[in-house]
Symmetry: D2
């Protein structure tokens, strides 16, 4: 176990990069944020100013070369993840990377090979595993509280669709949004998915359909151990961020409901009401972002296995690709068809 | 245990009388309703027609004299309860009587003395004890699931005030409405109340204030065993009938919430809502009316103690009278001051 | 509108037949139960005694021939439904028939043709449509409260598997159990299902697998209008009958949770708990059984369309058959492949 | 509005002092923590090290004298509050002070007089007003969503009693614990209490009774505007921190339930359960501590009225003293008897 704080470099000063900057500078004890890099140097400088970082850089590869830095957090755009992972691994840096590693299998595998060769720690940013409710649900399943899992339901709906430009670069619904749910499915059941059947359509936002993507989907999963699962995605739930799961097993069920901004119930002549759930992921998952970074820091400093591995990133990618093929071909697709 | 059905006579063909008529003729196996009496003979005849009873009478004392009848249900106006109890007891009939026995202590005691002399069964209509939720809460307390009771809260609010004519004959809020809550307090805690402090006002309906009554009250109770309790009454909750209790003890708490017409939750851009609770007692307590009559029939046929005794009726009356004096005198009143 | 009570005959004195007998004799105003028939004449006689019916018959066709009887309720075993429907229709009797009409398409169509030729009323016993919560949810959808439906989830789990003998004659999970959920899907969305993909396995009870049936299933539905749906079935939820639905739409969602025997919440050092949901359909759906019979009586007496038609029975059967084929062939099946 | 951060000094490095130190150094943008003072100089030094403060002092009056410091947070023991307030006011420092100002009326008034003469900002630490649920409830009342308030219930129960030494110096239950609830009552109803009736006993912990204090209490409040209220206190709820309120009015009710560590519901053969509420105030009210300090900083920098004034502190003290007299004398006490 190490006593000196882990020296971290942040790549990408966008929204999620700033979440991690705030966490590391304000809430974490065993790490220090040394530098931030962003190809938009202005964004890097603003971030450095806000969080009092000593260095702001325009070139992420320059940050990777900084010998003080022991580990990097890759929060830049998805297409840059794989090459940055390879460079950081070659430089012997431990790596925390936002999901996904890449939108295609080859780039993902090359990046993971580089990590394996370098022997560095690698954690993928499936933050929802660290949500207090989802992690408590998983713990109950591990404890055997619900026996053997038979069925899983994931409801995962955004409050509003992303802008068209985002959609175009996102890789599509399954790679951008459902990939979190594929990981959640594997995490909760503790088993691999063997077959995926996906249906989907664009009905929330015509611009998404015009971009060749879907905004509404339903996926049916078959796990190796025999459990079944469903994932329900929508890009627009008018009542706010809808993030629920249920796992049903031989001895019981666990059910996770939404988070709310307050616990006030209003009873009037119109009915019995409460305010809508928390609006979106920055509210709902704020605690999970902190906990995932703490877990990464602990894994590096105490040389323990990471909580979410590169293989987890690869497995979720395979499910997203299988779902895409299922949607295109109108049939259930076995995951090994993709590999 | 008797195999022949209990032969019952109903006195009073108003709303609650008809509830009992429906229960006995349609849902109960061990009793038969032989006759109905009402000083409004038309009401008696309509009731007899509706429930296919063989006899409708204008004079309740004539019903009491009917030798076929083994037990009577007294559902007429409050001022008639005590003399009818005395007559029925003298005739050797078992008695089920709606609350209260009388609005004053002397008449109540005379009626109970008559019952005691006759040795007949006597059950008072505190139906809420038979509500599935309240009886389950009581069972948990008896089982020791919450340890020793320390605190009690009763919320008891009507959806709308009664008409002025009803208020005038009701004996006032404490004798008409709170009396149910006084009984619930004794039932749940399983102990006697020693002291009552009551505050109240008329602010829901000016007509109630003009009639010298109150429509909003708060009562603080001290039990002999040391527990404290509160009762919150209002004649108008705009969201519907509000009937909740909570008992807190050394090992936990039980909490009873309202009953609803359905389990549908609506999530929209305005919030997360459900329909209002059941509107009033005829909806909320319908099951308890059946269960109290079944308990009475069983007590008579199987010669078992009644579930709610004349002493329970007397005790609740004492609390209502103590609350009235507390309100008038602006001080806590010990129950033994009333006796 | 007719003033004389509808003269009804009951065929089948088993569990569900007795539910209808109790409803008609005790809770319904506009109908009279004239006779009961059961091939087990002892069962017919016991039922007649219990509900004071004037006639108990061993031969259902004899009941159909009774000229006093205007309408029949067919509650006998599934294999007898179709021939009894044909006979009753030929005799000009209106018909209420428990689901399903038959286990195969030809018999179902012949029965419905007979009904059409005779011009009698025909209602199929999909009682869940009359459940207060499900009907309230449907009403909200009809009202446009959640906009255009996009997604549906039905959770439908029994507390315990049926005995092996029952399974053998049931037609299998999709025809026996899921058929209710197929109807609920069509009812809630108000649209036809075009494609079904079903997965299933026997893991709750080995005897069910040995009988060639499944006890755990997940079905994905595609509606003509573009909505998607899932159905989750299990023959054993250890915590009791689990009957929930959710419909998500462009303007919101409706969510129906389970029914409970009471509203008591227990807070102790171990957690915050309530008792399990109502155990099974006789508790959960008791109100819906009454309301469906009342609707049938009203449809006949007032000459209005029935609430659940023969076409509804046929449509649910088609979905069950499509699910069966999907399970056998491991692919999504379009419903028109079955027709 | 000022652009430079408010220069703050912290007096008292105990538990609540450290909460404020963390908030100011990590989560607040418009303030800087310059120094910490604690009569236990080791505690001051540890706090300074942990939050990287430039100065740790053993003498609080030395901190008050520091010319860089614009405002102080007084988090030391209760008996030091009043003299420190007077000294800080004399030095022209703005003051945030934990509740209560003092345990007696004279000291409280002298302190408030000093504040008034100096014209500095003074905020008292009734943090619960800033809890998201309670402030949302208050907002609904201000908005008129529930009409005119008629009744209030506050449940306020700790998970475990404090150590005997704490009790001895606390001023007793009403001054130490109920004082928060008295403030909440005034805050929610937006009106002054005119009369208090209090009952109480020691039954949770014999050591509390031996120290002459109580651990279980019930208080009935009468507001000037006619509303009634109750406060239920216990030093031990075995299921965790129990902090709920309900306000009932002419147009509806608001109800605030507890906060939980997660949203997982477990359904098993034993029942339907969730984990216990958050354990104590450091979990439940963590957000309110941040928001109250932000409000204070904003009041000073932007020269706005403070959210919780010295008069609020005085009013709550009066209610606590009235409750104490009511308990001793066994009668309702009018608050003006205390003044």
């Amino acid at each position: 176990m190490s006593d000196s704080p882990l020296q971290l470099g942040l790549i990408g000063a966008g929204r999620i990069g700033q979440v991690h900057a705030a966490t590391i500078t304000q809430r974490v004890e065993r790490a220090a944020l040394v530098a931030v890099a962003d190809v938009n140097i202005g964004a890097a400088q603003a971030c450095a100013a806000r969080y009092r970082l000593s260095r702001a850089i325009g070139d992420p590869y320059e940050l990777i070369a900084d010998p003080r830095i022991q580990a990097v957090l890759i929060c830049s755009s998805t297409d840059t993840h794989a090459p940055l992972i390879e460079a950081a691994a070659a430089a012997g840096k431990h790596i925390f990377c936002e999901k996904p590693i890449a939108l295609d299998l080859d780039a993902t595998r090359r990046a993971l090979d580089a990590v394996a060769r370098a022997g560095v720690k690698f954690q993928i940013g499936f933050n929802r595993r660290f949500d207090p409710s989802f992690s408590r649900a998983r713990q109950a399943i591990v404890n055997g509280e619900i026996g053997e899992p038979h069925a899983l339901h994931i409801i995962s709906r955004d409050p509003e669709p992303p802008p068209p430009a985002y959609v175009a670069a996102s890789g599509g619904l399954f790679l951008d949004m459902t990939i979190h749910d594929f990981d959640m499915a594997r995490f909760l059941i503790g088993d691999e998915v063997e077959e995926v059947y996906a249906v989907g359509t664009a009905r929330v936002d015509p611009a998404i359909g015009e971009a060749g993507d879907i905004d509404t989907a339903m996926v049916l999963l078959r796990f190796a151990g025999g459990a079944f699962g469903t994932i329900d995605n929508s890009r627009r739930a008018v009542y706010g961020y809808d993030q629920r799961v249920e796992v049903f097993g031989s001895l019981g069920a666990v059910n996770v409901s939404n988070n709310y901004p307050n616990n006030v119930v209003f009873s009037t002549a119109q009915g019995v009401c409460r305010d809508r759930p928390l609006h979106f992921f920055m509210q709902r998952y704020i605690e999970s972002y902190q906990r995932e970074v703490e877990a990464f820091i602990e894994a590096v400093l105490d040389d323990k296995p990471v909580a979410v591995s590169g293989q987890d990133g690869l497995a979720a990618l395979l499910l997203a690709l299988a779902a895409g093929r299922s949607l295109r071909e109108g049939r259930p697709v076995r995951v090994r068809e993709i590999m």
